[in-house]
């Protein structure tokens, strides 16, 4: 897994071309460049580390198998990648909803709430509460908000990722921010 120094500066398009030739070092660079975004969105969306790992692995294995899935002329690689992750997250949430109705449902992984030394700190507790509040948002509102805050995507990019109009993306953001702001304000009143 040794990469030439210059490889780090290769564009995503060049890396994908190398991945098509089964170049593992190019694949490693691509994961290093985008892994945090992919796993970060999946984890913030679903709240369960194991599910986020599944989505991350699924997305990158798809990229390894089909590096030509991204069409450079159509959307920026990051926009396209976020779209893939968002769809995987929504699929996973759908499957979990179905499983909840089945009699042989596996017990869902609980959200990790193990108290730790760090969680004892008030700010950590507060952020953990905010994470839980985010999880209460409807799925598309949650994705729109996370793409804006964590992914730093513009409203137009969010619209493209979620395959909705820009106006619809803005409405998702407005509802998510309004709801979350009200929840955070309530929490602060209680605290």
């Amino acid at each position: 897994m040794v990469e030439a120094l210059g490889d780090e500066t290769l564009s995503d398009e060049d890396l994908l071309a190398r991945i098509a030739d089964e170049d593992r070092s190019a694949f490693t660079i691509l994961m290093r460049r985008h892994g945090q975004k992919v796993r970060g969105l999946a984890l913030a969306f679903g709240g369960r580390p194991a599910d986020a790992d599944d989505v991350t692995q699924d997305v990158f294995i798809m990229l390894w198998r089909r590096p030509n899935s991204w069409q450079p002329g159509k959307a920026a690689f990051t926009t396209w990648l976020y779209r893939v992750v968002a769809n995987r997250c929504l699929d996973q949430a759908r499957r979990q909803r179905v499983r909840r109705w089945l009699p042989f449902e596996d017990a869902a992984d609980p959200v990790d709430e193990t108290p730790s030394a760090l969680d004892a700190l008030a700010n950590r507790d507060r952020l953990a509460e905010v994470r839980k509040m985010i999880l209460t948002l409807p799925e598309k509102q949650r994705l729109a908000l996370l793409l804006a805050v964590q992914g730093e995507q513009s409203n137009a990019e969010i619209a493209s990722i979620l395959s909705v109009s820009e106006g619809a993306a803005e409405q998702l953001l407005v509802r998510a921010r309004r709801r979350l702001r009200s929840l955070v304000a309530e929490q602060e009143v209680v605290a």
Binding site: M1, R24, F27, T28, M31, R32, G35, Q36, K37, V38, R39, G40, L41, L43, A44, D53, T56, Q57, F60, I61, W64, R65, R126, L127, A128, V130, R131, I134, L145, L146, A148, V149, Q150, S154, N155, E170, L173, V174, R177, R178, L180, R181, V184
Partner: protein, 136 residues
């Protein structure tokens, strides 16, 4: 732009005025400069967004995570090749079975042709063909 308009625009575009559409951003900057209440609204919204960003700050995607994906790849590839092989073997098997079945049906038909002579002659006779040869 009124404070209400500004509050609504914050929900649409967020606290970073650089990411707003240009005309709205210019008007908002003017309002924030002139109105301390609007300036406080912007500061509070920015603090709210920072809280969300801190809450969902992604963990680093390091060597362990990369290794986990790389470890899954050979399995994925092998699974893919295994699956492809399975499909090919299945298709070949089905073709062979079809061939054998066709062959058996053909044999059965050939064997039955001797017994078909009588019914065919009866049908021909019924249709007015009297030259049914050895049958009559």
């Amino acid at each position: 732009m009124t404070r209400e308009d500004f509050s609504e625009a914050l929900l649409h575009f967020g606290a970073d005025l650089d990411r707003w559409p240009r005309p709205e951003a210019d008007t908002a900057r003017q309002l924030v400069d002139d109105d301390p209440v609007a300036a406080r609204m912007l500061a509070e919204f920015a603090a709210f967004e920072r809280t969300i960003a801190d809450a969902v700050e992604p963990a680093p995607f390091g060597a362990a995570e990369i290794r986990a994906v790389l470890t899954a790849i050979p399995e994925a590839k092998n699974t893919s090749r295994f699956t492809q092989g399975l499909w090919l073997a299945g298709a070949a098997g089905m073709s062979l079975l079809s061939f054998i079945a066709g062959f058996m049906v053909m044999q059965a038909n050939l064997a039955a042709q001797d017994q078909l002579g009588v019914p065919l002659a009866i049908i021909s006779f019924a249709m007015g063909d009297t030259s049914v040869g050895g049958l009559m």
